[in-house]
């Protein structure tokens, strides 16, 4: 699995970086920079939570292409 952000939907709330700092950091304007490495099983629950609480539903946990 990996996390992906919809750049149009994203409004820089920043919750993803709080919940999943292992894969998401914020740029100087508050928008997420996604680390494209796969999300290991032990991080999946956190990643799913980060996707669920995103206020604009811009974050998604998806199967790696």
């Amino acid at each position: 699995m990996e996390v992906r952000v919809d750049p149009i939907a994203c409004k820089a709330h920043g919750l993803c970086a709080e919940l999943l700092p292992e894969r998401v950091s914020l740029d100087e304007w508050g928008y997420p920079i996604i680390d494209g490495r796969p999300v290991p099983r032990e991080l999946e629950a956190l990643a799913r939570r980060a996707a669920d609480v995103c206020p604009t539903l811009a974050l998604a946990l998806v199967r790696r292409a």
């Binding site: 750049p7 149009i8 939907a9 920079i33």
Partner: protein, 431 residues
């Protein structure tokens, strides 16, 4: 038949009429087969296009046969969109094709639509391009089975897309046809999966379909007679700036940059640099362009790109810093404003460039510019921030001496010259 290919009809009086078009190129083999009752298999054109190696001519260079196969594999009857939007300020090739040889564009679109059994063809053009609309609509009305009910041809129509650098992006064109605003969407879904009316949609550049109009007649083998093995055929290139005879030239892919410049009347004075690929492309130092070829491969190796076929020659009399500042400011304003990194990143980049030009930049402005350019790349829904970053990064590299000079001393005498790089007129109200 060597060159011209696409522009073969241009020397003929009344080139926009069907009669003169067919006098130059003959009728489409498909039309002939249909009249004699022998319809060729729908797949044969796709096979021919695959063998031809034709790549898209709108900038991305994607193999057309792969796109056609993807559209054909989608669910629902496909739609064809010919993208004649030309938001690239220094590009003129699409309007030349639409206005001067509309029947060749229609031939290619019709051939693609038949191969896909498409329901409808849209010709997307710039809304303010009345000449292209007139030429296309007149040409469509002249076609033998235009608008006839129950004819095997797809219904077709012209759609004017509101002006804008990103409004010609494929998802933006599809969004506008679907009744939305001409702004890019996040992908997936790709337009070949779900585009116009949620159907699988072929969106392809006007020059690409014009090339199909030729391949449908003369075949893949003929198409590959010129060009390189990797990039076969001819291409239209808009040449402007410091040349004596600017315009749209049809060249063999792989031809030397020197021959292109000679075709444009030669350079006016010594070129300081060349912009290859438009405002999403890259600069190459004037001393390094000789020996390069007009191909994606050669130009990318040198730091530019062929992209939509745009070459601008920057003469030594111009100020490269001011030219970069003006284009970067325009690119910032042309952001659709949807993606945060593009909105904030391009504003930061344009602001830092202005401060360098004025000699009031903070000490690490060059470092910030390099970092922001990396930071915006790949983080928009469309390729706009990537292209802007490429343009700026290449300018900082090729014009490093001029940027250092401006950072230290501010505006130079050449800053006040009339810019070489064209930009659409800015419409604004003075407060």
């Amino acid at each position: 038949m060597s060159l011209p290919r696409l522009l073969a009809g241009l020397g003929v009086p009344g080139a926009t009429t069907l009669a003169s078009h067919e006098a130059v190129h003959g009728d489409l083999p498909l039309d002939r087969a249909r009249r004699s009752g022998r319809l060729p298999a729908a797949g044969s054109l796709v096979d021919e296009i695959r063998l031809s190696g034709l790549r898209g001519r709108g900038g991305a260079g994607f193999p057309l046969a792969t796109k056609l196969t993807s559209v054909a594999a989608g669910r629902g009857r496909p739609i064809v969109v010919v993208n004649g939007c030309e938001g690239e300020p220094a590009s003129e090739k699409d309007r030349v094709l639409l206005e001067r040889v509309p029947h060749l564009v229609i031939d290619g679109a019709t051939a693609c639509a038949r191969a896909l059994d498409a329901e409808r063809i849209f010709y997307a053009i710039d809304a303010d391009n009345a000449a292209a609309r007139w030429a296309l609509e007149s040409a469509i009305a002249e076609r033998p089975d235009a608008g006839r009910r129950g004819s095997s041809s797809s219904a077709s129509g012209v759609v004017g897309i509101p002006a804008g650098y990103v409004s010609g992006q494929e998802t933006a064109v599809v969004n506008f046809i679907n009744g939305g605003r001409p702004l890019p969407s996040t992908t997936p879904p790709m337009v070949f999966e779900r585009g116009v009316s949620r159907r699988p949609t072929l969106v392809t550049n006007a020059e690409t379909v014009a090339q199909v109009g030729l391949i449908a007649r003369y075949g893949a083998e003929w198409f590959r007679e010129i060009g390189t093995d990797q990039e076969p055929g001819s291409a239209l290139v808009s040449v402007s700036g410091g040349v004596l005879d600017p315009g749209v030239l049809e060249v063999e892919l792989g031809a030397s940059v020197d021959s292109l410049l000679a075709g444009a009347g030669g350079t006016a004075g010594r070129p300081r640099a060349f912009l290859f690929g438009g405002y999403g492309g890259g600069w190459v130092d004037g001393s390094q362009a000789s020996g390069l070829a007009i191909s994606e491969r050669s130009l990318r190796q040198a730091g530019g790109m062929l992209g939509p076929g745009v070459v601008v020659v920057l003469p030594e009399s111009a100020c490269p810093v001011t030219e970069t500042v003006l284009v970067a400011g325009w690119l910032e304003r042309e952001s659709a404003g949807q993606c945060g990194p593009c909105v904030h990143g391009l504003a930061a980049i344009a602001g830092a460039l202005r401060s360098i030009a004025d000699g009031r930049a903070e000490p690490d402005a060059m470092g910030h510019l390099a970092r922001w350019s990396r930071l915006v790349t790949g983080r928009g829904a469309c390729g706009h921030p990537d292209g802007a970053a490429r343009f700026v990064t290449s300018a900082l590299r090729v014009f490093a001496a001029e940027f250092a000079d401006h950072a230290a001393f501010g505006r130079c005498p050449a800053c006040a010259r009339i810019p070489v790089l064209p930009l659409p007129s800015r419409l604004a109200v003075a407060a």
